[in-house]
């Protein structure tokens, strides 16, 4: 895998793909029935349609045994590389553009046969060979992961209280929001977003905000330390519930966070909490499913492919967009929504897709990097930010 920036080319391809016409067909999948349910190790928001996994199970025509997983990269490495995860789970999800390489290089996950996923033909063109996100699902040129959600993380802000659209990360560091701003308590997204801001606003020379050298990390952290000492941040949030509470309780007015946090905070507080498009850029990412070595050995490949066919269906894409605000990974969602007006708020879906297209267009976007080259410098300097 090589680090890359989300550029205009990717943005255009992505926007085009989202707007493109194409409905996902339903295909009968052949293959031997695997013994027992598919043991899935994934995050709770990987399901749609019901509070439990029943709707996903019904769509795929398989039995699913769900095992809760956090979004932490170390957890996947510990279980799948160091521990006995391959014995426990048939399939798992994690970030693309890093984790698929790490897991495939250690033999924890296996190469996939996409011909067994009929909806693969609808996948966003950015994942095709040569596409801007092609590397994020491949290891040494072979497909090892199926993307199911993606996003460009941005700034959530309380429009009711602020009364203006925010279009720059500058707001996070603006003295008018002193003590009412929050960032994530994780050096990855927080340093990347700050680096994007500093680079694009001309405040610091940074080559690649996703993979900074030690000097660049130092500069970004010194900036954050100065902001922290000024009292700019109310706190650094950790976990969905914390991020949500900060916004919904008006504890903070601006927060760099995941889109589902903004969506739920707006619903919970009944306030106009918006998710902006930052002119400097965003940290972009996707999340993918992988078939474990153990899952293949246990004959669960067919069940896995059936489920992946659901993840690449517009049925899933429209619902994950409507429920969580995550970007669908297939074409034809608008058409699916139009064909099912009772199930969706078409204007909301269109607005969310447009918002994503706007965010993906920004030149300064940078792909999430789970394992930056100088990770020790990231760690050490983040400790200094915390101590400041």
């Amino acid at each position: 895998m090589k680090q890359f920036e989300f550029n205009r080319r990717m943005l255009l391809k992505s926007a085009t793909a989202m707007a493109a016409v194409g409905a996902a067909g339903s295909f009968g999948l052949s293959g031997a029935q695997a013994a027992g349910p598919l043991k899935l190790w994934t995050i709770g928001i990987a399901k749609v349609g019901a509070k439990d996994w029943s709707a996903m199970s019904a769509q795929a025509g398989i039995e699913i045994h769900y095992n809760a997983k956090s979004a932490r990269a170390d957890e996947a490495i510990q279980k799948m590389v160091v521990g006995d995860g391959s014995k426990l789970y048939d399939a798992m999800s994690d970030n693309g553009g890093g984790m698929e390489d790490a897991l495939a290089s250690q033999g924890a996950v296996v190469e996939l046969d996409t011909s067994k996923i009929p909806n693969w033909k609808n996948i966003l063109p950015i994942y095709n060979p040569g596409g801007a996100a092609a590397d994020t699902i491949r290891h040494k040129g072979k497909i090892v992961a199926v993307p199911y959600i993606s996003n460009a993380d941005s700034l959530a802000y309380n429009y009711d209280k602020i009364g203006a659209e925010l279009t720059s990360w500058e707001a996070l560091f603006d003295s008018q929001f002193k003590g009412r701003a929050a960032m994530q308590n994780d050096f990855g997204p927080t340093l990347t977003n700050t680096a994007i801001y500093l680079k694009q606003s001309g405040k610091q020379d940074i080559d690649n905000p996703s993979d900074m050298n030690p000097g660049e990390v130092k500069g970004v952290c010194q900036f954050l330390i100065a902001q922290k000492k000024k009292g700019q941040f109310r706190t650094f949030w950790d976990g969905f519930g914390n991020g949500l509470n900060l916004l919904a309780s008006e504890e903070v007015l601006v927060s760099s966070c995941w889109e589902p946090i903004q969506i739920v905070a707006a619903k919970k507080s009944k306030m106009d909490i918006r998710y902006g498009t930052m002119k400097e850029g965003h940290q972009t990412w996707n999340n993918c499913f992988m078939l474990t070595k153990g899952g293949l050995a246990r004959g669960q490949a067919d069940a896995f492919y059936k489920l992946m066919n659901v993840y690449l269906s517009t049925w899933f894409g429209a619902r994950t967009l409507a429920t969580f605000g995550f970007g669908p990974q297939m074409q034809g969602v608008n058409e699916y929504v139009a064909a099912n007006p009772k199930d969706f708020d078409a204007s909301l879906i269109a607005a969310r897709l447009a918002g994503k297209a706007d965010r993906y267009k920004v030149k300064g976007n940078s792909w999430q990097n789970v394992f930056p080259t100088h990770i020790r410098d990231y760690q050490d300097w983040w400790a200094r930010v915390q101590a400041a």
């Binding site: 932490r72 990269a73 170390d74 490495i77 510990q78 590389v81 160091v82 790490a102 250690q106 003590g179 929050a182 960032m183 308590n185 922290k228 941040f233 109310r234 706190t235 650094f236 950790d238 976990g239 519930g241 914390n242 509470n245 309780s249 008006e250 504890e251 394992f371 990770i375 020790r376 990231y378 760690q379 050490d380 983040w382 400790a383 200094r384 930010v385 915390q386 101590a387 400041a388």
Partner: protein, 279 residues
């Protein structure tokens, strides 16, 4: 049979304490690899701890935990004394049980429940605003070191109440009667009689609170300010970054701190006296 009785605790302590601790120390000097660690000898993890901001974070969390211990003592120990001296013997254990009941609720829930109480639009601010005591919400009680201390005191107060009560059980009631008969002022009774006799229990309760304050990562995570950490969170973050030797080094340092405290406490107060009621 007699020897076997002594062997059982030794085997238990070896298996569940000494061996894990030894492994923690051994792993802390291993070489870090991309995803795990490999045998070797390097003090890099310790250097990474002692010559970085992590030491500062560790020391500040020790300071906050120490304040929590003092505050918990001020509020908790008088309760233990009161129960022991004023509540009829038959009801004492039931009353103490009331103070231990919060332990039946998950620590996560207890800590999370503090947020809607302390936050800008929370119970405390709403009541004070309603009463006209304040005109602006108080923001210093959440997402600050004070927020962490409040969380530690409220979460771990029962430790000092329970340990204090245990210690007070070792003090015969007639001692208080003698003090009363001699007309000793209350503060002299407290300083000259109660404190020395209850010292082992107070110390044990204090260690419980101190160690939990250092180790429970949820507290700074949920109630602390930007980047607030304690030793537990430093170790957690090291694991998240796949720096296992560093996480082991932090754990070893925490254990050494705890053992050091216990040693000092034992030398000063003879901690076996906590068990004297059982004896």
């Amino acid at each position: 049979m007699g020897k076997a009785l002594f062997l059982a605790p030794i085997v238990f302590m070896t298996l569940f304490f000494a061996l894990p601790l030894a492994l923690t120390v051994v792993w802390s000097v291993f070489e870090r690899t991309m995803f795990w660690m490999e045998p070797g000898f390097t003090l890099f993890a310790y250097e990474n701890f002692f010559f970085s901001a992590r030491l500062e974070n560790f020391l500040s969390s020790m300071w906050h935990s120490s304040i929590s211990v003092v505050v918990a003592f001020i509020f908790g120990f008088p309760v233990a004394v009161f129960v022991r001296r004023r509540i009829p013997q038959v009801a004492q254990h039931r009353v103490i049980l009331l103070f231990i009941l919060p332990f039946m609720v998950s620590e996560i829930i207890r800590i999370f429940a503090l947020r809607p109480v302390l936050q800008r639009t929370g119970l405390v601010n709403n009541v004070l605003l309603e009463l006209g005591v304040i005109t602006e919400p108080i923001t210093v009680i959440l997402y600050t070191p004070l927020g962490v201390i409040i969380g530690e005191v409220l979460s771990f107060l029962p430790f000092i109440v329970f340990a204090g009560f245990l210690a007070m059980e070792a003090v015969p009631k007639y001692i208080f009667e003698i003090c009363d008969d001699l007309g000793a002022p209350r503060h002299r009774v407290f300083i000259d009689v109660i404190l020395p006799l209850a010292a082992p229990g107070i110390f044990a309760g204090a260690v419980f609170i101190f160690v939990n304050g250092l180790g429970v990562a949820l507290l700074p995570n949920i109630l602390g300010g930007p980047g607030a950490v304690n030793a537990g969170l430093i170790a957690t973050q090291a694991i998240a970054a796949l720096d296992f030797p560093l996480a082991m080094a932090v754990s070893a340092i925490m254990m050494t701190t705890l053992l050091g405290l216990l040693y000092i406490g034992h030398r000063l107060f003879d901690l076996t006296r906590i068990l004297s009621p059982i004896n």
